[in-house]
Each structure stands twice: as structure tokens, then as C-alpha cells.
Amino acid sequence: MPNLKPEDLEKISERMKGIVDLRKGEFSAKVTVHMGTCGIAAGARKVMSSLISIVEEKGVKDVVITTSGCAGLCSREPMATVELKGETPVKYVDLNGEKIKRIFIEHVIGKKIVAAHALAMGSERVS
């Protein structure tokens, strides 16, 4: 991109925004895929890669995708927790690649809980 114009700086910022915001820990939603041994065995890796591809496809920039250990309900794995900023986290169970995409579109982008796959609201307290 030779010889930038002032407005090109904005374009570059826009393109890179998600990356630097993420490093600063600024986000509007957080999706945690539970990746204990049980989760991985049940297909959590696939859930994770579908999730990443839908984030890229939709061009959403301020969503954090992260992992955590076993959520304690191994029979319902793969599991994921969706947390919109300032709202109660929602746990989803028995996931696969398709379900997580739907959850992402409807809950993260559309702000509407996908009741069909949700297990419960809230998170365990961490002492």
C-alpha cells in the first residue's frame, strides 16, 4: 500500500482493531470453550475451530475466545460458556460445530439466549 493518505490510517486501524483490543483485554463478549480431557475427547477442539471460523466469517472484532478446564459435567461435554459484558454467563452443553455457530450468531451477535442448548445461567463461585 504505497503512499498513504490520512484516511488510510483509519482503514488500517479498523482492520487491526480486533487484534490490539484483544491484547488490551477489551471486549464485549467472552466465549469460553471447556477443554478438559473430557471436553477434548468429546470434540471440544472441533467446537473451538468452528467458533473461530464463524468469528472470522462474521468479522466480529471485540469477542474474546478462550479456553478453560473441565466444567465438572463431563457427561454433557463439549461445553461452552457465553458471557456478554455485564450479563450473567450462560452455559451450553452437548455442543458440536453447528450448534456453537448458531449460539454465536443468535446469542453473541443477536444477544438472545439459545434455550435449546442452554443448561443453566450463572457460574460457580470462585473463592
Partner: protein, 600 residues
């Protein structure tokens, strides 16, 4: 629009010189392989960043967006870290930071006192960008200040804004930056030049190097704004040849800026043209002095000249020149972007903004810090620095590099700004801070700095060339037990003569370490002279080691470790040191587990 590839996790791996020397390049390689092994390479990105600041715990790694801080990581830790944290989401506790005297680690970087108590303005991109990628700098609002200046401000307005902000030179002298620019702009002659002084020669200082390594574009952008303001088309950066990584990263940054048309002709589509050349200095301390630096760029001997005419009128090649320090240039873009008023709210009445310090010596959290002007020395040493190593007693802090002064415990609540430091007998300098504990001998400290300065004096002025040498001889004699009654008075007299009679800042400030140690630790000098003793147990000629009968258990450890075989004694019986053979290396003192070795 093409989107930049998104990663769910960014591993920010420090690649400042300190961390590279502790193996961060090798760690990156192993980490990359481990990510591949778990097929995580498309989800997780490794970013080599500039210096993160907590150099004592190098190499440092921060996992974002979790904000999990890891320290002293090794190649061996990587397989476990990747599987546990990056794959399964379980952060690894044993690699985290645990505050002294506490058991539980602090996982998040923003909760660690060392980081949370700092104000990042010059180091605004610390740990957030890869310094070799211009797009990441732009994403953090980079080059937007220069765009604002070129499209909406007249040069005079830029100067007015910088003047109003109260920004002062961060290289040491503290001259008002905007005023300097104004002088240069109004000089009659052409062409005009701007120079970045990166000839950082103070022992223990690495602020300027870290900025060039970690955020080179911030310096380029500052220089662009300065050049536009004074009407210059050519800039230089004078940087030590001993800073290969800084030179490499700055060269990459220059190349990228030229490719984007941010340097060269028609910058950002305007008529403004500017470019920067790198000049590598040979490492002479005096070349950090403005007129010596310019002489060196011209290819002449690096010697200062009398400044009856300012460089802003006749500087480089006798043309109007603005020379500012790395930190000053890096401060300019935020001043322009947020405005003078915002900037002038940070700091004290006379010293605005923030300052970057290298915090070194007997301090727990050795590293690079940025704090608002006006912060107290106590906050720097205890809240950010974590206190003295081994919880020993604080004795003095030396600010301003080799020509600064040593400040004692009674001044710990001194607010750090240009004026208060000068009043206390020290200087802001370029931002060096060396912390000393109770085991430091102040006469030895003075001797060390005089030794440095006498070798670095360029020799042009007699008072500096001969005077510092003479002062060194006197202090050296003192540490050998050959001190004379009148020594302190002679040292003081010489100091004033050197300050008065030297041309440049080197000579004018060279006596500071001696004057300030006499002012605050006179007693220590007197003990060296009259009692021929070194109370801190440092000056070798004045101390002897012996073994305390009551404490020695006869474990033989000291005898085994003594390099000259000066310690005799049988197992389980009292040991003794033969003072004729003892070389006073102190190994016995360090090895004894029963505190039976005593220095006198």
C-alpha cells in the same frame, strides 16, 4: 475489506535485549513447535514485543486476553504451558509472579504492583505491539498525530501546542521543547535539521534503547511532527553502535515508514517531505552532549564547543538544528493527539508529563518504569521497585546517571521533578536510578563514578581533564587508607573549580557524585580518613575478615571454597583466616551458613 487474521490468544513474548539474552528467541521457536504439535497455530499467535519492564524476572511472557503474566520462563516450560494453559485453559501457577512474603501468586499483569502503579505515555505501546509491524503501531493510533498536524495545523500552531503542554527535554537539561523548536523555526538560515539523541552512555541506563527497540515508530512520528514545526526536511538519529537490536528495529521501522509514504516526498499526500538517517556513534560518553554529538555526525572529533550561539541558530553544519532525546520525541505524538491541556494535567507545576527511568541496583524489581513527574522516590523504590534485595536497609539512590547525585533515606519523600532534584544536589538526567543498600560504601561509589568520568572526559578543557583525575586520586587514596585531613575540603574546592571552568555538561556535572556524597554522607568520608576504616566493609585495603569463635561449627565449607587456601582448621573445630594470604574476596562470607565470618 480484507480482515486481518484473528487469533483467539496472543502470546506477548518480550524481545527486549534483556529477554533476548535470557533466551526469548529460543523460547519462541520451541513455543511455535509446541503449538504446531497441538494444531493450535491458527488459533494462537506469538508476538515478539519490546521491553515489558520487569527485567529482573526475564524472560517475560503475557498471555492475552487473559492477561496472565508469566516470568522467568524457559524452553523446558513450554510443552507443559501449551498443553495446560493454551489447550486446556488452566494457567500455570508456578510461572506466575508471587509478591515477596506472600504465598499466592498474582495471575494478572494488571494486578501486579510493579505494572499497575505506572503511567504509560511514552511507553504507551509497551507489550501491546510487535515493534517490527507498522500496522500494529497504526492500530494504536500511530501516525494519527502527524496526520492531524499535516492536515489541520500550521507549524506555528504545533509549536504553540507543544509550548503550552509544558513538555521539557527528557535528556537531562529539561529545556522547554516548544521553545527550542520556536528558536529554530525563527532562525534565518536554511536548511534546518532535527536530531534524535540516542547516545545513551550512562552506566545502568537503558530507557532510550528500550524505546527504540520496543516502539521505534513513536520516535519517527515525534521527529516528523518536530520537523514539520521547525521546517526541516532532514533528520538524524545518533545511536550507539553497541545497540545492535535498537538499530535493527529502527532501520526496519524507517523502511516501513518509507514504504507507506510516511517518510520521503509528499508525506500523507501533502507537500511535506522528510527523511531520517541513522548515524552510529562509537560509544564515547561525551557524544551525548549536543555540540559534541553534532561534531561527530559531521565526521569531526566528538568534542563540545562553547555555546555562545545556540544549536537552534547554528548547529549541525552551522545550520539551525533541533536536538531532542528519544523520550522527548516519543512524548510528542500523545501531546498533539490529546492536546496540551491533557498533557499538562499530568505531573507537577514545573515538570509536566511522565518520565521513564531505568531502576537498577539493589532493588527487587529491576527494570524499566514510567511514572508521572512528582511521584516520590519512596513510591518508586517500594511500591514499584518492591523494596531492597534481601530486605536490607536502603542507603541511597543515585539519580541522573554518573553525573547525578546520591540522595539519602531522609529524602525518600522527595517528589521527583527537575527542580527538586537539582535542589537536593542531583539531576533528572536521562533517567537513570541506581539503588544502593546498607552494604554500599559511598566513598567507593564516588570513586567508581570518578573513574568512569575521568576516562570519558574528552580532554578539551583542563579543569575537567586534570581535575577529575585529581579528584579520583584523592578518593582512591582514601579507599586505600591514605586519606589526609584536608581531603574533603580539597575535593570540594576542586569540584567548584571543575563546575565553573568546564565547557560542557560532562565537566559541569562530573563533581555531583562527590559533592552529594559529601553532603549527605560526610561521616563516611571522615571515618575513611581519620579511622582508616570502611564502615560498609567494601574498601579492601581497610577491611579484614575473621571468624567468630562462638559461631563457627567447623563445617569446613569456607576452607573448601577459599580460592587461595587462606583458611585452616580441622572438621568440627574452630577455623581461622590467615590474613597474610587472604585476598578479601568475600567468598567465605557468602558460603558460611552460620554467619560466623565477620568483616571489620
Amino acid at each position: 475489506m480484507v480482515m486481518e487474521k484473528q487469533y483467539r490468544t496472543h502470546i506477548m513474548l518480550c524481545a527486549g535485549t534483556g529477554c533476548v539474552s535470557a533466551g526469548s528467541s529460543e523460547i519462541k521457536e520451541v513455543l511455535g513447535k509446541e503449538l504446531l504439535k497441538h494444531n493450535l497455530q491458527d488459533e494462537i499467535q506469538i508476538v515478539h514485543t519490546g521491553c515489558m519492564g520487569l527485567c529482573a524476572r526475564r524472560p517475560i511472557m503475557v498471555v492475552q486476553p487473559d492477561d496472565i503474566y508469566y516470568q522467568m520462563v524457559t524452553e523446558k516450560d513450554m510443552p507443559y504451558l501449551v498443553e495446560e494453559h493454551l489447550l486446556k485453559g488452566r494457567p500455570v501457577k508456578r510461572l506466575m509472579f508471587t509478591p515477596p512474603k506472600e504465598k499466592e501468586p498474582v495471575p494478572k499483569m494488571r494486578d501486579i504492583g510493579f505494572f499497575s502503579k505506572q503511567t504509560l505515555l511514552i511507553l504507551r505501546n509497551r507489550g501491546l505491539i510487535d515493534p517490527e509491524k507498522i500496522d500494529e503501531y497504526i492500530a494504536r493510533n500511530g501516525y494519527k498525530a502527524v496526520a492531524k498536524v499535516l492536515t489541520s495545523m500550521a507549524p506555528g500552531e504545533v509549536i504553540e501546542e507543544v509550548k503550552k503542554s509544558g513538555l521539557r527535554g527528557r535528556g537531562g537539561a529539561g529545556f522547554l521543547t516548544g521553545k527550542k523548536w520556536e528558536h529554530c523555526r525563527h532562525a534565518e538560515d536554511e536548511p534546518r535539521y532535527v536530531i534524535c539523541n540516542a547516545d545513551e552512555g550512562d552506566p545502568g541506563c537503558f530507557q532510550d534503547r528500550s524505546i527504540l527497540e520496543g516502539d521505534p515508530h513513536s520516535v519517527i512520528e515525534g521527529m516528523l511532527i518536530g520537523a514539520y514545526a521547525v521546517g526541516s526536511n532532514q533528520g538524524y538519529i545518533y545511536v550507539r553502535n553497541e545497540y545492535p537490536l535498537a538499530i535493527k528495529r529502527f532501520s526496519i521501522a524507517l523502511h516501513q515508514a518509507r514504504e507507506y509514504g510516511l517518510l520521503g516526498d509528499n508525506i500523507l499526500g501533502t507537500n511535506f517531505r522528510f527523511d531520517i538517517n541513522i548515524i552510529r556513534g562509537g560509544g564515547a560518553f561525551v557524544c551525548g552532549e549536543s555540540s559534541a554529538l553534532m561534531a561527530s555526525i559531521e565526521g569531526r572529533l566528538g568534542e563540545p564547543r562553547y555555546k555562545h550561539i545556540h544549536a537552534t541558530e547554528k548547529g549541525l553544519w552551522n545550520k539551525p538544528t533541533v536536538l531532542n532525546n528519544v523520550k522527548t520525541w516519543a512524548s510528542v505524538p500523545p501531546v498533539i493527539r490529546h492536546g496540551a491541556e491533557w498533557f499538562s494535567k499530568i505531573g507537577t507545576e514545573t515538570s509536566k508529563g511522565t518520565m521513564v527511568f531505568s531502576l537498577v541496583g539493589k532493588i527487587k524489581n529491576t527494570g524499566l518504569i514510567e511514572v508521572p513527574m512528582g511521584i516520590t522516590l519512596r513510591e518508586i523504590i517500594y511500591d514499584i521497585g518492591g523494596g531492597i534485595i534481601g530486605d536490607k536497609r536502603f542507603k541511597a539512590i543515585q539519580t541522573g546517571g554518573p553525573s547525578g547525585g546520591c540522595l539519602p533515606e531522609s529524602l525518600l519523600d522527595l517528589p521527583v521533578d527537575y527542580e527538586s532534584l537539582i535542589e537536593a544536589g542531583s539531576i533528572m538526567g536521562s533517567g537513570g536510578m541506581i539503588v544502593m543498600d546498607e552494604n554500599t560504601c559511598m566513598v567507593d561509589v564516588a570513586r567508581y563514578f570518578l573513574d568512569f568520568l575521568k576516562s570519558e572526559s574528552c580532554g578539551k578543557c583542563t579543569p575537567c581533564r586534570e581535575g577529575i583525575n585529581e579528584m579520583y586520586n584523592i578518593v582512591e587514596d582514601m579507599s586505600q587508607g591514605k586519606g589526609r585531613e584536608s581531603d574533603i575540603e580539597i575535593l570540594e574546592e576542586l569540584s567548584y573549580a571543575i563546575k565553573e571552568g568546564s565547557l560542557c555538561g560532562l565537566g559541569k556535572s562530573a563533581p555531583n557524585p562527590v559533592l552529594s556524597t559529601i553532603r549527605y554522607f560526610r561521616n563516611e568520608y571522615e571515618i575513611h580518613i581519620k579511622d582508616k576504616r570502611c564502615p560498609a566493609g567494601v574498601c579492601k585495603a581497610l577491611i579484614r575478615y575473621y571468624i567468630d569463635e562462638a559461631r563457627c561449627k567447623g563445617c569446613t565449607l569456607c576452607a573448601k571454597n577459599c580460592p587461595v587456601g587462606a583458611i585452616t582448621g580441622e572438621a568440627k573445630k574452630l577455623h581461622g583466616i590467615n590474613l597474610d594470604t587472604c585476598v578479601k574476596c568475600g567468598v567465605c562470607l557468602e558460603t558460611c551458613k552460620f554467619n560466623a565470618v565477620v568483616v571489620e
